[in-house]
Every structure is written in C-alpha cells, then in structure tokens.
Subunit: 205 residues, 2 copies
DNA sequence: CGACACATGTAACACGTTACATGATTTG
DNA sequence: CAAATCATGTAACGTGTTACATGTGTCG
C-alpha cells in the first residue's frame, strides 16, 4: 500500500511518465527497494481510475519531439498525499515479521535447534550490517547536500538501525532461552518432563 | 510468503484442520498478526496442490463423532520446513518500510514539514511502546514456562525492539535535518530560493 | 428455539512479481 | 547495422483481505 502513496507524492514535483516515476523513486531509496516497472503502470492505471491522477500527454522536455504518457496529480490526489504525510504509520497491525514468526514457532516445536537458528541468523544479519557500512563509505559521492542523497542516506540508516535491533533481539532471545534451559535442564536432549516445580520461573514477566 | 511455511511448520506437531491451525498460530504470536481463516484454507489447498500436505479425515479427538478435514505434512513438506529453519531470513530484499519511504520522499519535496511528520510519528510509536509494556505486565497469566507463552513473549519483545529502533532512527533523522538546516538556513519557511549558486534551477536533478 | 461460535469453503478484489510483446531511440 | 536501453503495456500467477454462503454444534 505504500507504493501507491509514494508515487502520488512524487507527482507533487510535477507531471511525470512511468519510467521517470520509477527513476525518481529509486533515486531516493537507492537500490534498497527496486520498483517494478510493470507495477508502476498498473498502479498509475488504478490511480487514474480512482481520480487521483490524470493523463497529460507531454512532450519530452529534452528537446526531442517524442511525447510521453505523463500523469499529473489531481486535487484529490494532492489531498491524499497531504493526509498521508500528516498521519503516522500505524503500528496497530505491523507487517508480519518472518524472523519473529520463525522463532516463535521454533521454540514450540520439539527437536528444533533454536540456538543454531539464532546463531546463523545473527551471523547473516551482521554480514548485512557490514555491507551497509561499506555502502555508506562508498556511497553516491555526488554531493551529500542534495536532498535525494540525504534521503537515500537516511534510508540506509534505517536499514542499519533495523538490523541492529534484530541482532539485539537475537541476543535477547538467546539469553532468555539459556535461562529457560537452566531452569529445566532435561528438556532439550532426551525429553524428560521433570515435572516443573511450582511457578518459579526466572523468565521474568 | 511466511504464512505458508509457518503453517507447514506447525503441522510438524501432527495432523490438524483449518481452525486448529489458526488457533495454534495465534497462540504463538498473540493478537499481533491475526491469521485470516479464509487464507488458511486457500493456503492449505495450495500446499496440497504442491504436495506439501495431504488430507487425513480425522475424527475429532474430544470424543464427539464429528470428523474434520485434517492435513498432515508429507515428506516434502517436512523437508521444506527443516530448510526453512536452517536458512536465515535474508536481508537482501527487506520488506518495504513505509515510514522510511515516507520520510525519504518528504525530505525531497518542497513545502513538506518533515519535522512535524517526525514528531507525530515518534509520539505515535511511543504510545505503541507503552501499550506493549502494558501488555507485557498483563500478559497471559497462564504459566510462563509453557513454550507457547514464551513464544508470544518473544514476539512481543520483538515488537518492542523494533519500535525502539524506530524511535532512535527518528531522533537520528531529526538531528541530521537540523544540521542540514543549519548549513543552509534559508530553505525552510518562506521558500526563498536563494538562487543556489552554480547548478541553478532550484529543483535539482 | 434462537443466538453464537465452530468449521469449511468460494468470490471478488488489491497488491506484487515475473515474464512476455512491441516499438522507439541511442550508441558502439 | 546490431545491441542495448527507453518506454508502454498485458498476462499469469502468488499472496493477502473482505465478504458472503452454508452447515453443525452448543448454550442460555
């Protein structure tokens, strides 16, 4: 649902055609979320159907006489954009987190080696983190003053913050599982139920 | 794509029918990611088509003579699950982050009050954080020893880590924007173009 | 009995990806 | 000129949500 609004928002800069829209989007987000060109056209069609944009056949501005199928945001479109900016992204129904789902299920199944899953995941994520920092050094020399480069840089930071949070969470999970295992040591290998005393957890909460 | 694997993984516990699968899933993830019952059936159909599960008409175990349409994981299904657990969730194409996209575009558009967007978002996210901690206190009395409750608790922690990372990122963005504004002070309020020396145009790019 | 939860589906739609078709323009 | 890139689409498929239809079991 965010592509639609993003495209509409970019149209605030003026009428554009499909390819241009994709270029503008990717310039701001880097190679992070490549935007499928097919989807650009289908989304534009739906936006037009919903009265958010209208077609403006425009000559290419580069002098050639080629015309493109450009789109311009309508009044409705512009108001949808400002509402998008004015409303915080809700956390009521966060997108499903595959890693969280995976671990949540893993800890409930017998015979699944959760510790290994965690270690592999952390190692993969830390590799990504290194890639991100490498990207930040290499990054788009250009001029860091330009808003598009600032945008891309912020997106990159967002990925870093996210990956760091994931690593922290993995450490946290590891610790909690270790404590849980310490409380009832037999449960791992040969499945001895050990009758769990009272409620004396130690798992906190 | 994660629901499919999650359902398949849960079937490792033994044959189940639609409603049961949903209940097992939601018990592990709390009310975080409610699983649509319609999707359960369509996903089961596709899993069967792909040879991952097979139907086992089973009598309900609670004594009643009612039979349910239960599914059991096949050999292929089981191997897909173990591969799922063995492979880290890749960060190569992370799911699109609506907030990051929104801010990335916002900073490149003239006349958008990014500072306000950030403040509103942070305030909304911190409210969610409070809800999470309240949930952690209230949480599912039951017994925290039970693996399902541990799972749900880890998921909740994941939400917290995520929200905290978001707040940190918002602070980070705010700081960077303040620095950028300090470097070229005129750009904010009354849209004074200040003629940006060399490349002219003001629209940049 | 009537309301409600359980249980199994189907249809319609939105969104997203991959792949293909078809031209025009640019460039080695 | 041939190949690559730009540009605009369409078709097929997977996934996800919402809504509807239909029937069974339970409980006040």
């Amino acid at each position: 649902m965010s592509i639609r609004q993003a495209m509409l928002a970019i149209l605030e800069q003026g009428p554009m055609y499909g390819y241009q829209l994709r270029a503008e989007f990717e310039q701001r987000t880097g190679e992070t979320w490549p935007l499928n060109i097919g989807q650009v056209y289908t989304t534009l069609t739906r936006l037009e159907r919903d009265g958010m944009v209208e077609v403006v056949e425009s000559a290419a501005e580069d002098g050639s006489d080629r015309t493109h199928v450009s789109y311009r945001a309508t009044e409705s479109g512009r108001s949808e954009v400002s509402e998008w900016f004015a409303t915080p992204v809700p956390r009521t129904q966060p997108p499903r987190d595959e890693l969280a789902i995976k671990l949540a299920i893993a800890v409930t199944l017998p015979g699944v080696d959760v510790a290994t899953i965690i270690q592999r995941q952390r190692s993969a994520t830390m590799t990504s983190l290194q890639d991100y920092t490498r990207l930040k050094r290499t990054g788009r020399a250009a001029n860091p003053e330009a808003p598009e480069d600032l945008a891309w840089s912020l997106v990159l930071d967002s990925l870093v913050f996210d990956a760091e949070a994931e690593v922290r969470w993995l450490d946290h999970c590891e610790a909690r599982l270790r404590r849980a295992a310490a409380d009832r040591p037999a449960a791992s290998a040969h499945a001895t139920p050990t009758a769990t005393p009272e409620t004396s957890d130690g798992v906190a909460r």
